[in-house]
Symmetry: C2
Subunit: 432 residues, 2 copies
C-alpha cells in the first residue's frame, strides 16, 4: 500500500472513541484495502489520561487540549466523539476546520445548534463535516438520504431515533408498568443521559430529526423549530388502550415540507401495531424515508453502543480516505434555503381519551363538540370501570382525519361542556 | 453552474430507462445542485425507435446499436438498462469500458456471470461499474454494504430479493390458494419475467445474492456456487402448517463465510412470523446485513418498478457526477479472493412434514431415525385429517439445530422404515 495514510486525530475516549480505536487497530488491513490507503490514528485526547481504558493507546500522541489535537499538522481528519454542543467540542471543531481538516463527528447537539455555521466554514475551507454516527447509530441513514436517494425529491422523513425512549415505551407495554417505574429501571441500567431530559424530553431525537430534515429538504438546520414533546406524559393506560385498538405509542419524529412550510415534530404518536414502526422493540432505531421516485424505504438497526456508533464513524472515515466529499448537508451550505417553519397542520386521525361525569347526555355533548369542530368519528368505545363507585365513564374515540387546529378547537369546546372529569388526552395517529 | 455536465448514454427505454429520462428531465436543477454539475442525456438506444414512449426523447441522439451508443465521444457514463447477460448488453458494456466510460447498470445477470472480468477491465481503464439498481430495486443496499458498513467484517447477508416470489408466497398464504393458481394470477398481472423460471426458480434472486456476497466477503462473484431452489414445490399445506406454528415461508437468500468456505443459498426457508422478514408482504424486498461492529441492519423497500429502479440508477449517476469512484465490488477486482464454495453446513432448526402409514410404532421409528442421526426434537405434532379413510397421520416435527448433512441422513433413514406414505418435506428454519 503505497498511498499516504489518512491520519486521524481522535477527541473523546469514551465508549465510541474506544470503539473507533479497536476497529482501526483490528481491521487495519481490511480498511486499507477498502480505502485504497491506510487509515491511522496520530493522536488522541480525553479529559483524564490516567483512566484505565480497554484499548492500547501507547502508539498515539496525547493531547490534553482537543483544540491542540484538532490543529496538529499530522492530523488530516478531526474525529469528534466527545459530545456537548458548546465548550471543547465546539471550539475544537471550529479550530479543526480553520486549520483545514475534514471533520467526522457523532455530535448531533453540536450540529443541531451550529451546523449551518460549521458547514459554511468547512466549505469555505474546501472541507466537509460528516456525521453518520450522529443519527440513528449504526444505521447508514445519512448516506442513504444524501447519496442513496439523491435522485429523489423527499416527501417525508420519519423515525424512532432515541433508543432509550423506545426501550421505556416498549417495556411499559410488555410489563404493564407505569412510566415512573420504567424510567427508574432505565436509569439504573445506565440507559439515560446525565440529563435525562435529553432522552425522555425528546431533545436528542429532535436534534437528529433536524439534521435529517436539513438534508431531506435542502434547508438550513432549524432545531429550534422542531415541535418537541417528550414521553413523560405517556400513561400506561393509553399504551394499554391503544394496544387494544391495534396501535403502539412511539416517540416518533416526522419532518415534511408542505405548502405552508417545513413541519418538524418529535412527539408521541400512535402507529399501527403491525407496521414496521409499530413492531420496533427496545433500543432499536428505525428511519423511514419517502421519496417521489423510490417510494418508502425503511432502515432499521442499533441506535447506540460502542460497535454500531464506531461503525458509523468508520464509514465516514473510509469515505474521506476514498476521497468522497459530499457537502455536509448534501447541498453546499450557502445554497440551503432558510426554512419556513410551519406548525404541524397535516391532518391525521387522532386518538382521544377522556373521563366523563356520570351525567345524562354527557357523551352526546362530546360528540356535538367534535361535529361542531368538523371532526367525524371513526371509532368510539365507552369503558366501564368495575369498582368505580362514581360510575365515571372512560371514553375512547378514534377520529377520522382532522387537522391539529380542529382537534385543538374540539378540546377547548370539551372544556366548556362541564362533563369532563379531567383533562382529555389527544394523541396523533401517524399514517405510516 | 459552471462545471462541465456529466453526459449519459442510455441503453434501454423500457420502464426503467423511461424512469431515468423522467428524473433527469424533471429534476435537472435539483440534481445539478446536489452533484455540483449538471447531468444530461446525450443519446439513447432501444430496439424499436417507432414505439410510443411516455417521455420526450426529441433532444437526444438516437443510436440503433448500443455499442455505438456506448462508445460515443460525447458520452461519459454508459447507463445499461436493457437486460440480458449476453448479446447486446454484454457487448455494449465491454465496449463502453474499452472506450473509457464509467458504467451504471441494472443488470444483475450480466454481473453475476461476467462481473469479475468486467470489473477487472473497468479498473484497468481507471473506471468503475456501479449497480445499485441491480439488487433490491430502490433500496440503497450496495451503497450500505460497500460504504456504509465499510468498517465492518460482514458476518452474514440475507434477503428476500425477488418481489414476484414474495408476492406469490404471501398471496398463497393470505388467500389459501395453491401455488399453481397464484402463479397463473401473477402471470396475468404481468409480474413474471418472460422466462418465469428466472423468478420462481430463484435465479434472479440468486444473481443478486451472489453480487452482495462478493462485496460482503471480498470474493469474486460466484453465482454458479449458489445453492438454488425455487418456490415451485412450496405447498399451501406447508404454508398453512408453518403459519400455525408461528412461521412464514420465504424465498430467502443467505450468504455467510464459515471456516469451511463461502455458503450461498437461495432457498425456501421458514422464518419467525413476527420477525421483519416474516412480516414482509407482497413485492417488497428486504435485505439484512450483519457486521461484527454494527450488529444487524435491516433495509426494506420496493424491489422493482419504474420509480424505485430509476432512483437507484440515479444514485449511481449522481455519485459519479460527484466524483465518487468506489471499486465495483468494494475492493479492487484483482484483490478479490477466489471463493471456496461450501455446501450449506451451518446448523439450523428444521421443519419436517411427513405422512405416516397407520401402523403401530410408525412414529417411534421416525423418532428413532432422528435420534440415530443425532437430531433432537423441539416440537412434534400429529394431525388427524377428518375424512381420511386411510387414517394416515400427518406428522410435523420442528427439530433443534441440526446440520443439513444430519437432516439428509435422517431423511435417508426415514425411507428405510417403510412407514412413509410419500416423500417427506424438510425446510430449514433460518434464525433471523
Amino acid at each position: 500500500m503505497s498511498a499516504a495514510p489518512l491520519r486521524l486525530g481522535l477527541a473523546g475516549l469514551g465508549t465510541v472513541g474506544i470503539g473507533v480505536v479497536k476497529i482501526v487497530q483490528r481491521e487495519a488491513a481490511l480498511i486499507a484495502a477498502r480505502s485504497g490507503r491506510p487509515v491511522t490514528i496520530t493522536a488522541v485526547s480525553a479529559r483524564d489520561r490516567t483512566k484505565n481504558r480497554d484499548a492500547d493507546l501507547s502508539g498515539y500522541a496525547w493531547e490534553t487540549d482537543p483544540v491542540a489535537l484538532a490543529t496538529r499538522p499530522d492530523v488530516d481528519v478531526f474525529v469528534e466523539v466527545m459530545g456537548g454542543h458548546e465548550g471543547p467540542a465546539r471550539a475544537a471543531t471550529e479550530a479543526a476546520i480553520a486549520a483545514g481538516k475534514d471533520v467526522v463527528t457523532a455530535n448531533k447537539a453540536l450540529l443541531a445548534h451550529h451546523g449551518q455555521a460549521l458547514a459554511l466554514a468547512a466549505e469555505a475551507a474546501g472541507r466537509t463535516i460528516r456525521f453518520e454516527a450522529a443519527v440513528a447509530g449504526g444505521i447508514p441513514v445519512i448516506k442513504a438520504l444524501t447519496e442513496g436517494l439523491a435522485g429523489n425529491r423527499i416527501r417525508r422523513v420519519m423515525g424512532v431515533m432515541n433508543g432509550t425512549c423506545n426501550y421505556i415505551l416498549t417495556r411499559m407495554q410488555a410489563a404493564g408498568l407505569p412510566y415512573e417505574t420504567v424510567f427508574e429501571e432505565a436509569r439504573q441500567l445506565g440507559y439515560l443521559e446525565a440529563d435525562p431530559n435529553l432522552d425522555v424530553g425528546g431533545i436528542d431525537a429532535g436534534h437528529k430529526l433536524s439534521l435529517l430534515a436539513a438534508i431531506a429538504f435542502g434547508t438550513r438546520v432549524s432545531f429550534d423549530a422542531v415541535e418537541l414533546e417528550g414521553i413523560g406524559n405517556v400513561s400506561i393506560d393509553d399504551i394499554r388502550l391503544a394496544d387494544e385498538m391495534g396501535y403502539r405509542i412511539k416517540l416518533l419524529g416526522v419532518a415534511q415540507l408542505t405548502g405552508r412550510g417545513l413541519e418538524q415534530r418529535m412527539t408521541p404518536c400512535l402507529v399501527p401495531a403491525a407496521s414496521p414502526l409499530g413492531q420496533l422493540q427496545g433500543g432499536t432505531n428505525m428511519v423511514v424515508l419517502e421519496g417521489d421516485s423510490v417510494g418508502q424505504i425503511v432502515l432499521r438497526g442499533p441506535g447506540a453502543g460502542e460497535g454500531p456508533t464506531a461503525s458509523a464513524v468508520m464509514a465516514d472515515v473510509i469515505d474521506l480516505a476514498r476521497g468522497f466529499r459530499v457537502p455536509t448537508f448534501g447541498l453546499p451550505a450557502a445554497d440551503l434555503a432558510a426554512p419556513v417553519p410551519a406548525r404541524a397542520a397535516t391532518p391525521a386521525p387522532y386518538y382521544l381519551r377522556m373521563t366523563l361525569l356520570d351525567k345524562p347526555g354527557a357523551l352526546a355533548k362530546i360528540a356535538t363538540c367534535l361535529g361542531d369542530s368538523g371532526i367525524s368519528i371513526d371509532q368510539m368505545r365507552q369503558i366501564n370501570q368495575p369498582g368505580d363507585a362514581d360510575n365515571d365513564a372512560i371514553v375512547l374515540i378514534v377520529t377520522h382525519k382532522a387537522s391539529p387546529a380542529d382537534i385543538g378547537h374540539a378540546l377547548t369546546q370539551f372544556d366548556r361542556t362541564g362533563v369532563l372529569v379531567d383533562r382529555p388526552i389527544a394523541i396523533r395517529i401517524e399514517e405510516v
